[in-house]
């Protein structure tokens, strides 16, 4: 056995034993390092170019600080959602996939779609280390596609390819809306036949999210909408705990 190989057994359901392995931590922190390096290079480049763009050193600082302050609320809202997903994916995968590149919705969606192709369900008895590895691979490759599209399109758009986006405005509104809605409605609906507890979990999370959106409009409090996802997931899990305890969970 090579020193790199993990002493694992694909059929074990001890996900965190694989998901929190040191090499995954190193790769996860590597992505953090890349972003830090990128930021340093960008700040230095912006400093150099600022006078030519008619921008003072003070304005650069103000921009940095405004961006930082505006990000506090949304960042903590992401943290809440990420912590709720730790049990499912382990810390390194959550940090990179949910915290950074992707988002909770896409990544849990992608992971679940992958698990389904193996006849398994996330979090259930069928969610083995092997299923986790395949799901992690597929969600990471999916995330890589966003970056690939960015790498390909940005130079084209820069050269004035704005026409690309203007071919037909309906393509840019109807098609993505249809894709997004169908994806999440399908993923949600597939949860319903699993058990009565799944049904009440989904409905209560949806209700709390709806309430947050409604109140944020009514009271003009934007932060309520930002935090809605986190609040809704926690409320859903709380309801799930009691429903599961009351014997509404899947029949083992």
């Amino acid at each position: 056995m090579t020193p790199l190989a993990l002493p694992l057994d694909g059929s074990s359901t001890d996900i965190l034993a694989v998901a929190n392995s040191p090499i995954l931590w190193i790769c996860g922190l590597g992505v953090f390092a890349v972003i830090i390096i990128q930021s340093v290079i960008y700040i230095r480049a912006a400093r150099k170019a600022a006078p030519a763009a008619g921008m003072t050193e003070a304005e650069l600082k103000t921009s940095f600080r405004s961006g930082a302050i505006a990000a506090i609320g949304p960042s903590l809202a992401v943290v809440l959602v990420a912590v709720a997903l730790l049990a499912l994916f382990g810390t390194p995968a959550v940090l990179v996939r949910i915290g950074l590149i992707g988002s909770a919705a896409y990544e849990t969606g992608a992971a679940n779609i992958s698990a389904t192709t193996m006849g398994a369900a996330l979090g259930a008895d069928t969610y083995t280390q092997q299923v986790f590895a395949v799901a992690f691979f597929a969600m990471s490759l999916g995330g890589a596609m966003w970056m690939l599209a960015t790498l390909i399109f940005t130079p084209i758009l820069k050269r004035g390819g704005h026409k690309l986006a203007k071919v037909n405005p309906a393509i840019m509104t109807v098609v993505p809306a249809a894709a997004l809605l169908a994806a999440f409605i399908s993923l949600g609906t597939a949860e319903l036949p699993k058990s009565a507890a799944h049904v009440v979990t989904l409905l209560s999370a949806a209700a709390v999210m709806g309430l947050c959106v409604f109140l944020s409009k009514k009271l003009a409090k934007n932060w309520l909408r930002e935090w809605g996802l986190g609040f809704a997931i926690l409320a859903g899990l709380a309801v799930a705990y009691f429903a599961h305890g009351a014997g509404l969970g899947p029949v083992a």
């Binding site: 909770a104 969606g109 092997q130 597929a138 599209a149 997931i233």
Partner: protein
């Protein structure tokens, strides 16, 4: 004459900003892409988990069938607001619409810069750097350290419940979020209709399609929503 000299000098230094950010922006993004794939590759290759290549491609195909439209559309949508330099930051840091765009807009407002101008682009880049600093720190501290600790002290039965039910909880909330932020009644109703038909009519008839059910619903909804769209522009007779 002195003005033209200044203009030349400033054009040169703005060009340099473009060159630096597009070269290093791309290199760092490629590095991020490779490192983010290295983790799962390591598990698959060295993990002793008996993963077959065909399983990987099947899983990826099902994910691609569902999300390929979003992969293509998002970069096109955000480019005009972010500008070329910030594109390479945004798609690596993530949470663009709920975190990075508001940060960039607040910064531009605070220094009175318009989006799309050079001042606006620089303000957006600096704001995203500021947002990244806050975001990386809070992720490392609250998820990396505190979160990992929290998971280790929470009783096992609570963790099991969270693991079993976090997916319906996320999806319930995300469906509502998607409906509200898209604000498009027709595609929403069509999506519900298509999903119900696929889930409760098609799958019981052809159980082999289960693994592709989400991709089927997505593609079906796109087609129907496209042909049933509200045509606002004048229809050619």
């Amino acid at each position: 004459m002195s003005t033209s000299l200044i203009t030349e000098a400033s054009t040169a230094s703005l060009d340099e900003f473009d060159r630096t950010t597009s070269r290093w922006g791309r290199l760092t993004m490629i590095a991020g892409l490779i490192i983010s794939l290295a983790g799962p590759m390591y598990l698959v290759v060295f993990g002793n988990l008996d993963v077959a290549t065909s399983q990987l491609w099947t899983a990826f195909a099902a994910v691609a069938g569902t999300f390929f439209v979003i992969w293509l559309v998002e970069p096109l949508t955000y480019f005009p607001i972010l500008g070329p330099a910030a594109m390479y930051q945004a798609f690596m840091i993530g949470n663009i619409s709920n975190k990075l765009l508001p940060s960039a807009l607040v910064a531009q407002t605070n220094i009175g810069a318009k989006p799309g101008t050079k001042r606006g682009d620089l303000a957006a880049v600096m704001a995203i750097c500021g947002a990244a600093a806050v975001h990386l720190t809070s992720l490392l501290v609250f998820v990396g350290l505190l979160g990992t600790w929290l998971i280790s002290v929470i009783p096992e039965d609570l963790i099991a419940v969270a693991r079993l039910y976090v997916l319906p909880a996320v999806m319930g909330a995300v469906i509502v979020q998607a409906i509200v932020s898209m604000k498009q009644l027709r595609p929403t109703l069509i999506a519900f209709g298509v999903v119900l038909v696929v889930q409760f009519v098609l799958l019981p008839l052809v159980p082999g399609l289960t693994m592709m059910s989400t991709a089927l619903s997505v593609i079906g909804t796109i087609f129907i929503a496209w042909f049933a769209r509200k045509r606002t522009s004048a229809v050619v007779a």
